[in-house]
Amino acid sequence: MKAGFDGVELHAANGYLPNQFLAESANQRTDEYGGSIPNKSRFVLEVMQELISAVGGDKVGIKISPFHPYGNMILDNPVDTYTYLIEELNKLDFAFVELMKRSPYFPSASHYPADDEIELFGSMIKQKVIANTAYDKATAEAELEKGIAHLISFGTLFLANPDLPKRFEMGAELNQPDRATMFGGGEHGYTDYPFLIK
């Protein structure tokens, strides 16, 4: 916050540390941070409590990806684990949950349900819900119309279209993201995606 940010989001998705605590494929601890669902969830909940007390709940959010297996995330019981986590998060006072859907490029394990994550988990969440992954203008608008998610987050569409809201408003053509320049490199593929009108 010293750096002038308006808030923070805990990255508890995509197979990184907080996500690892929730998954049996990364967490076989026998202490109070492993084993039962409450124990596996303890790390995420304690970090959220710390963040809320450090910067104020109205400036805190969390990103979760319940059915996304990236990083070899395999939970014995993903629905019960995330249901518990969300129920406990609901007891905390903070701003939002960014709920990331699985990607078609990363199929879930066979014991995972086929449910839509926004319908299944989004409807349980007390905080504002930001729906994420693979939305375009039409599917994003349809998702908001459903009334579960309040906001939609876009990754590569914003990467390739710095003026994405204006393009949606005008029904304009979209620049396509260039995979080759996504990670590393210089200005090309970073700051040189064109605006509609400068």
């Binding site: 750096a3 002038g4 990364a26 876009f154």
Partner: protein, 151 residues
């Protein structure tokens, strides 16, 4: 269009309901410091209702990949100040995504230190992009049973 509707989020008033999600871009320097190019990149995207930064390492220990930014040294913090000022001066709102990669790292790019994770279980079925090309994941060290170091 609902996407273009103003919305409140926490204590923030967003000009639309479109969020730029976090995306790793790997354009910091070797010390995890972002430069003028990154200031321009986020500045260009201020029309988003909310910008969520690329994931930012909360400590040296948390770091899994080279050229990803940090927010634990004064130099890194000062560099992010330029980003947040440019975004705010142009009517944008920006929050920091806080990152601890756990086992998603490699000792090649961690001064020889193994990553730390809940248990000593390696990632299977994937490889890590390192400064020496794609490498199999190593078995991480196990984190001690203390409270997290995420502030």
């Amino acid at each position: 269009m609902k996407l273009l509707k103003q919305i409140e989020l926490g204590n923030l008033s967003l000009k639309n309901s479109m969020v730029m999600s976090a995306m790793t871009r790997s354009r910091a320097d070797i010390r995890g410091v972002v430069g003028d190019m990154t200031v321009q990149y986020y500045h260009q995207r201020v029309s988003a209702g909310l910008i969520i930064t690329e994931a930012i390492n909360i400590s040296e220990e948390a770091t899994g990949s080279l050229l990803t930014p940090g927010i634990y040294t004064q130099e890194q913090i000062d560099a992010w100040k330029k980003v947040t000022k440019a975004v705010h001066d142009n009517g944008g709102i920006i929050i920091a995504q806080l990152w601890h990669t756990g086992r998603v790292g490699h000792s090649i790019d961690r001064n020889g230190k193994l990553p730390l994770a809940p248990s000593a279980l390696p990632i299977k079925g994937m490889q890590h992009f390192t400064s020496q090309g794609l490498k199999d994941y190593e078995t991480p060290g196990k984190l001690p049973g203390t409270k997290s170091n995420k502030r």
